[in-house]
């Protein structure tokens, strides 16, 4: 699962220094990675989609102005159909749906990125430590991981979101602490595979401690896998965020795509057939989730060509 390995930098202190060699090696593997990634058309498509959404989220204040969320000075009347002034119509408070949609990108991306980062960080930490130390300690840690694996994740996230106060951090925390076990398992397996290689023995013989081996040798080698996991994790985090918001467990003061769907349902968009209210937020969620999934699959395919992902 790792990138093609060059031999570890020699400890020779003479020119060029060990760290500059290490950096040259890293640059080399990134370049090789990109060369491979470039050949995956779906991956490039996903990347383009991500860039598009990221730009929209970044420049949302310029595109729609900061007061798009305001209920009191909403520009339109309630539940207007799409028109020249409001390309996607208005919600029950008279706010422009296009503006809300653009603004919602910020929340979806923030929550998705942070929750996935949290989940992958926990998973990597647990996986590397369990894989490195082994023995009864690892058994206990993996037993706990298994226990988290059988917990119905969505149910657990719903309960956590119910228990804690309604805020965006609650949602991030609820997603993060419930979705790490898959990463932990993968990282542990990879750690064990890496640690069986001769250069780890060499590092140990030269006096490398646990911390040194874990951070300098194991971590760089599990990083590509972690990257793939993160990318795939973001899309499911975005879906979970939308789900929690739809169930009314998100922050009611923040505009998010899931929250817009909840508003739409409450405004009776379903029974009155207002599909233009309901369709765009869902399409946006699916678009972002798909973009991250495509990138994640392309990264996985680069790391493990046997998966046979179509280019």
């Amino acid at each position: 699962m790792t990138l093609e390995k060059t031999p570890p930098a020699s400890a020779d202190p003479s020119s060029p220094s060990a760290s500059s060699l290490a950096w040259a090696r890293r640059r080399g593997s990134v370049a090789r990675f990109w060369k491979e990634y470039r050949t995956h058309r779906a991956g490039l498509l996903g990347l383009a989609g991500l860039a598009f959404i990221a730009l929209i989220a970044l420049f949302a204040p310029l595109l729609v102005g900061g007061d798009v969320q305001s209920v009191t000075n909403a520009p339109g009347t309630a539940l207007e159909k799409p028109s020249g002034e409001f390309p996607l119509g208005t919600d029950q408070f008279g706010r422009s749906l296009l503006g809300l949609l653009i603004w919602g990108a910020r929340i979806s991306l923030t929550v998705g990125l942070l929750a996935a980062a949290l989940s992958v960080a926990i998973g990597t930490l647990v996986g590397v430590i369990a894989g490195h130390y082994g023995g009864w300690f690892a058994t206990v840690v993996m037993r706990i991981t298994d226990w988290f694996l059988v917990m119905p994740t969505l149910v657990l996230a719903i309960v956590l979101a119910t228990v804690m106060s309604r805020s965006i951090w609650t949602v991030i925390l609820a997603i993060g602490v419930t979705s790490w076990p898959t990463t932990a398992r993968l990282v542990r397996a990879q750690t064990i595979a890496v640690e069986s290689r001769p250069y780890i023995e060499r590092a140990r013989a030269l006096g490398g401690g646990h911390g040194h081996i874990m951070t300098r040798h194991v971590l760089p080698n599990v990083m590509p896998l972690v990257l793939a996991q993160t990318t795939l994790g973001i899309s499911s985090a975005i879906l979970t965020e939308a789900t929690l918001a739809f169930l009314g467990l998100g922050d009611p003061l923040i505009i998010s795509w899931g929250g817009m769907l909840q508003d739409a349902r409450e405004a009776g968009a379903v029974s009155s057939g207002h599909w233009w209210y309901l369709a765009p937020p869902g399409i946006a969620i699916a678009f972002v989730a798909l973009a991250f999934t495509l990138c994640g699959r392309a990264i996985e395919a680069v790391l493990n060509p046997k998966l046979g992902v179509a280019r």
Binding site: D146, L149, M151, V155, S236, G273, W275
Partner: protein, 348 residues
């Protein structure tokens, strides 16, 4: 929440590598080990469900009285009746003792035994999710096989692309959209299907079966659409793994038709990880159908969970949590036990 769909299932069903040591006689030992593991997990679930829901804010006794003015004395009596005045550890031992005998407590809002409430709603959930899992597993297997066999072709790309797109769609949104298009009806499309529920209540016998089937079309379609990608991708990648196998070259060299090589030789081997997948999906769907059941007002466990959570109806939430987690433990166990029987290479 759904896990990442990519990659073959490389390890055993519950993610643990099956024990590889031992001979044929080791199977009873293997079974005993898995049974023990499942029992420990179930105990852990009981502990979690008890303590997790104690931290839900809100006074259950106040919720029970539905805002009807009640004297402090009556509240105290209610607390005593539900055992809420006891110390926490005593509540816990009582709870475990009763749970082991199958008594999950009494619901605050329905004033009925939790076990009964769950038993009453269970068939509806089983019917809905069982049908959906059967359909999407079959669909995923079929499309996944076709995709892998013509790896890289246009149909492979279209198949995978469509599956991934549908997989990225939030299930509740797809459900709402289907309701708008096919139940409410837009433009030239008339409302063909009911907007929710399980029956219209005016038919019996064969008519009743048709009526329920009519109500099931949209929710099942939603679950299938968002769910089949996982089976497809697992089947596709595990068949791709098999396709380099020498035994396939041998089979072809014997002059077998391409179709036979695929059906008799490659697919049975590639099926194993997918079978595991189906079991794990069966474990997941009970909890996973919360959204679809809520959107379609399906009278099942998912809807009940949502209702219970808003009160909060502690015994009911706890009971449902145990049932959801128990379903996953049971299905993982079944997959673990079946796996060595299906594939002699592991577990014996």
């Amino acid at each position: 929440m759904r896990d990442a769909v990519d990659g073959p299932v490389k390890t055993g069903p519950s993610g643990s590598a099956p024990t590889t040591s031992g001979t044929r006689t080791a199977y009873p030992l293997y079974v005993a080990g898995k049974l023990g593991g499942a029992a420990v997990s179930l105990l852990a679930v009981l502990v979690t469900s008890f303590f997790l829901f104690r931290i839900i804010p809100g006074d259950p006794v106040k919720a029970m009285t539905h805002g009807v003015p009640t004297s402090a004395e009556q509240l105290a009596t209610l607390r005593k009746q539900f055992g809420l005045d006891l110390p926490l550890w005593q509540q816990f031992t009582d709870y475990c003792g009763r749970a082991l005998t199958g008594d999950l407590g009494t619901s605050y809002q329905f004033h009925a035994p939790v076990g009964e409430l769950i038993a009453e709603k269970l068939p509806a959930t089983l019917l809905l999710t069982g049908t959906a899992v059967l359909i999407y597993s079959a669909l995923g297997l079929w499309l996944g096989t076709r995709s892998a066999w013509r790896n890289g072709s246009l149909s492979d790309r279209v198949n995978t692309g469509v599956a991934l797109t549908l997989w990225s769609v939030p299930s509740f949104w797809l459900g709402l959209l289907l309701i708008i298009v096919f139940s409410v009806g837009i433009g030239p499309v008339p409302g063909m299907f009911p907007t929710g529920g399980m029956e219209s209540g005016d038919s019996s016998g064969f008519g009743y079966v048709l009526d329920v089937a009519h109500h099931m079309v949209l929710p099942v379609a939603t679950l299938v659409a968002v769910g089949y990608a996982q089976t497809l991708l697992v089947m596709r990648s595990s068949l791709l793994d098999e396709m380099g196998g020498d035994y396939l070259t041998t089979a072809r060299a014997k002059g077998l038709r391409d179709d036979l090589v695929r059906r008799r030789h490659a697919v049975p081997n590639a099926l194993l990880p997918t079978v595991t997948m189906v079991f794990i999906n069966l474990g997941h769907v009970a909890a996973g159908s919360i959204l679809v059941e809520t959107v379609f007002s399906w009278p099942g466990l998912g809807g009940l969970f949502y209702q219970a959570l808003s009160v909060p109806d502690l015994p009911l939430v706890q009971g449902l949590f145990v049932v959801f987690a128990g379903a996953m433990i049971l299905m993982n166990l079944l997959a673990d036990l079946l796996y060595p029987l299906l594939d002699p290479r592991v577990g014996r």
